[in-house]
Subunit: 111 residues, 2 copies
Amino acid sequence: MKIATATDAFAALSQETRLAAFRLLVRAGPAGLPAGEIARTLGTAPSTLSTHLGLLQRAGLVSSERRSRRIVYRADFDGVGALMRYLMEDCCKGHKTVQAAVRAAIEDEAA
Amino acid sequence: MKIATATDAFAALSQETRLAAFRLLVRAGPAGLPAGEIARTLGTAPSTLSTHLGLLQRAGLVSSERRSRRIVYRADFDGVGALMRYLMEDCCKGHKTVQAAVRAAIEDEAA
DNA sequence: CCGGTAATTCGATAATTATCGAAATATGAA
DNA sequence: TTCATATTTCGATAATTATCGAATTACCGG
């Protein structure tokens, strides 16, 4: 992963409204959510949210698909996975503390 | 982890100079690096870098310690671990794709 | 085709951030 | 104490980002 790709992804998650939108999409799962519903839930203007969703999409963290009049957004788990992997490999290569934290997270989820 | 804590950490990593400084510190390991050396390596003004390091520190991603005239910065792997864990648990709870990416990263490092 | 709904793009403005030089603070050496 | 080094804090400016309303585009049902 290029540095610029990583900074774009971090920037996408660094803004409260955008992180909130992303978390909604994660929870919505494969069904995703239409742009308007996200805007209504978060209480932001449709145009503002559209800007945010576009940024998340360019960062590779969400994808979109038109469904008749709606545009449905979904979390892109491959993109998130790539970002996690970058953090692990490029930034924290071989550092036990980080590995342990991540392992613990995986085990918690298995339980 | 609170949302504001997460956005602060992402913001800290979302800027090219700052991510570069952080990566230097990761590679430097427990010995760390003095602020001036990082500035020289990255070719930025000392005052600019100081601002960046302060932001990384407030985000919990690096720590600092005065060593005579120098101030030595170190990557804070507990902080990074907490961020990774947040991404895994809060944002991607139970999503196989992300888990697989992370598992692969750990295995690569073991090899 | 027309009216209504859903979303985006555009244009403007307000707020935040990045950058640097100059001044201030802290340390150590002569 | 005085000087030199290392870093931070301050103040200013330039650049980027967030936000919104208005205009535009796309789609569907009658």
